[in-house]
Structure formats: structure tokens, C-alpha cells
Amino acid sequence: MFATFVSVFVLVSSGLLLLFWLRSAAQSVLRQRFEQDYSAEVAEANQLEYLAIRKALAEYPEEIADYAGLLTTLERDYEALTYLLRNAATVHVGRYTRTERLLVMDFQLLRLWVRLKRLVGWPSWRSGLLEMATILEYFGNVVGHRLVTFPSRVSNL
């Protein structure tokens, strides 16, 4: 009986940790560096706020009171960036690449997780929002690189 209990405990905790490690590995693999960082330019040109939010969350989180507002802003940025990913300077109009699809899934899971935390009144949303902002930064870079590679729809300021 005790051995069965131990095995159930090992199974559940190892299974959960396996998911955790797989997610952590996938995130680190996807978080590749770009030779030229275009996320700031894309954010500025499209009046997106994910970089400012990421900076605020990373540097002075204690001053942030309105997490719900940040979440809404990040969701709005997400809508804009995913639209650009599917439609701007891509030969696969209306579709994501495999990497983008994984990150979209990750973003949706994080969105759900943060909302759940908010629902049960869990105070710390910072890490979830920070990860969401990082995903948006990656999307911004991808969009920027595509627009520079296919410059017909890009104008230099």
C-alpha cells in the first residue's frame, strides 16, 4: 500500500516536472538571438507597448499597480503582431510557421494562467506577463526581419 502511494506520488510529480522541463527547454530553444534587433522599431512604428511593459516589469515592478491594464495592452499588441505575422511580407499568407505556432500556444497558455491567477486573487502576475512580453518581442523581431528582407512594404523614416 505504501509502495503504491509512493509510486503514485513519483508518477504525478515526475510527470508534472517533465512537462515543466519540456516547456523550459522549448522556450530556451525558441529564444534565439537575432543579429539585428528590430523589435524596438516595429513597436515604435506600430505604437505597440510590449517593450515598455517588459522594461517596467523587469526594472521597477513594485511601482506597477494596474496589472489588468498591462494584460489588456499585451493582448492588444498580440493581436496586432499575430496579424502582421500572418499577413506582412510572408509567402504563407494567413499561416504561422511551426516555431510561431508553438509560441502562440505558449502565449495563450500564459494568458490563461495569468487570468486564472487574477481570478483566485494570486498577487504575483509578474513572471507570466514578463514571459508574454518576451514572446511578443520575438514576434516583433520576426516581423521586422521579414519586412527588411522583403522591403517593398517598408518605408524608411
Binding site: 509502495a3 503504491t4 509512493v6 509510486s7 503514485v8 513519483v10 508518477l11 510529480s13 515526475s14 510527470g15 516536472l17 517533465l18 515543466f20 522541463w21 519540456l22 523550459s24 527547454a25 530556451s28 530553444v29 529564444r31 534565439q32 538571438r33 539585428q36 534587433d37 528590430y38 523589435s39 524596438a40 522599431e41 516595429v42 513597436a43 515604435e44 512604428a45 506600430n46 517593450l51 517588459r54 522594461k55 523587469a58 502582421l84 506582412a88 514578463l130 518576451t134 518581442e137 521586422g144 519586412l147 527588411v148 512594404r153 517598408v154 518605408s155 524608411n156 523614416l157
Partner: protein, 241 residues
């Protein structure tokens, strides 16, 4: 006779192990990750040895059985030493440094001692469910240690992208093994299907390590720094057309 799945996975994992060592040598980081490289080289030799023993003595032979399980036990010991080396590497610059090695050594001998005692007391039932239970517990210790490593890494803010990937690979390997043995213990009917999981978990870990040494530079931060808008070199905007 070894099945196609086992053969493909064995050859793939051996190739990836050797590939990771070669990349490490080429990058001149062999000595920095010496325990990891010993582990990879040992696993490579063990995999090839296993294939040889199956071919010469057969899958059901006692010679193969002893070779495989003794080799697996040695691999587990090197695995623990690998986790210890990661701890050592991480705490190298912290105030806890003098205590890390003795603590890990005591812990290591404790695990080996308790396992030896268990095996000695249950020698008559060694090749029954006891072996599965013991393996499950041994791998679960690895799971806990890896998670502790992760927590320390976050606490010390010592996470680099390379380190995160290496530790994640270990985490995948240990947790997949522990969960697999626990499931085998709970449901013996699934044993045949579940024996496919450990080699797959090992291959995934080695593939991740190969990618890490190949593509991720040493010292790259796990989370990218926030770029400043004023540092922009090229200003682009999406046209309204």
C-alpha cells in the same frame, strides 16, 4: 533479437552523444564540461557495447543482462556526479562554495549506501518488482536534485541560456525515467510499451545538449536584455497600403 525501434534509437543516441563531444572539443569547452563529456563518452561506449553483447550473446543471455544493468548503474553514478558538477559550477563564486562539495559527497554516499542496503536485504527478490521500485526511487532522487539545481539557479540569478538548456535536458531525462518506472510499478501490463520511453528520453536530452553546444554561446543570458528605442539603427514602419 533487437527491434528496429531500439536499434534506430540506440544508433541515433550514440551518434548524437559523439556529436556533442566533438562540438564541445571544437569549442574548446571540453574541460569546462568534463563530467558531462565523460558521461556522454561512457553512454556512447555503453550503447555500442550493449548492441555488441546482444548480437554475440543474445537478448535473453545472462552476460548481456549483467553487462546492461551494471553499465546502467555506472551511468547513474556518473549522472549524479554530473548534477554535482553543475552545482559546483554554479556555486563557484558564492559564499556557499566551501560547503557544496562535502555536502554533495555525503549525499552521494548516502544514496549509494541506502541503495546497497536495499539491494542486499532484498537480494532474493532483486529481479522482481523490487528492481523497478529501486530504479524509480533512484531516478526520483535525480529529479529532486535537478529541481533543486533549478531553484538555486533562479535564487542566485545565475541562469545563462546554455545552463538552462543543459539542466532542462537533465530534468527531462530524470523525470521521464522516474515517471516511467513508477508507471511500470503500478501497471505491469504496460511494461513492454514503457520500455520504449527511457531511450527516447536519453536521445532527447543528448539532442538538446548537442544543440546547446552547437548553437548557444557561452554566457548568453537566459532572458534577452530589453532593447532601448533610442539605440535603433534602422527605423522602419509598416506602410498603410
Amino acid at each position: 533479437m533487437i527491434g528496429t525501434y531500439d536499434l534506430v534509437i540506440a544508433l541515433l543516441s550514440a551518434t548524437l552523444s559523439l556529436g556533442a563531444v566533438v562540438v564541445c572539443v571544437r569549442e574548446k569547452s571540453f574541460s569546462r564540461y568534463v563530467v558531462l563529456n565523460i558521461y556522454l563518452l561512457y553512454s556512447f561506449a555503453h550503447t555500442l557495447g550493449t548492441l555488441y553483447f546482444i548480437r554475440v550473446y543474445g537478448y535473453e543471455s545472462l552476460t548481456y543482462f549483467y553487462f546492461y544493468y551494471t553499465g546502467d548503474a555506472i551511468a547513474s553514478i556518473i549522472g549524479y556526479l554530473l548534477i554535482a558538477s553543475f552545482f559546483d559550477q554554479m556555486f563557484r563564486r558564492s559564499m556557499f562554495r566551501p560547503y557544496i562539495r562535502p555536502t554533495l559527497a555525503i549525499f552521494f554516499f548516502l544514496v549509494v549506501g541506502v541503495s546497497a542496503l536495499f539491494v542486499w536485504r532484498n537480494y532474493s527478490t532483486l529481479y522482481s518488482s523490487f528492481l523497478i521500485e529501486l530504479q524509480q526511487n533512484m531516478f526520483f532522487v535525480g529529479v529532486l536534485l535537478t529541481f533543486l539545481l533549478w531553484l538555486s539557479m533562479n535564487y542566485l540569478h545565475a541562469e545563462s541560456r546554455r545552463f538552462v538548456l543543459l539542466v532542462s535536458g537533465l530534468g527531462i531525462y530524470f523525470s521521464a525515467h522516474a515517471a516511467n518506472y513508477a508507471l511500470q510499478f503500478l501497471s505491469s501490463g504496460l511494461k513492454n510499451a514503457l520500455t520504449m520511453v527511457p531511450p527516447l528520453a536519453y536521445t532527447l536530452m543528448v539532442a538538446l545538449w548537442l544543440y546547446t553546444f552547437w548553437r548557444v554561446p557561452e554566457g548568453e543570458a537566459a532572458v534577452a536584455p530589453v532593447p532601448r528605442p533610442e539605440e535603433s539603427l534602422v527605423k522602419v514602419k509598416i506602410s498603410s497600403e
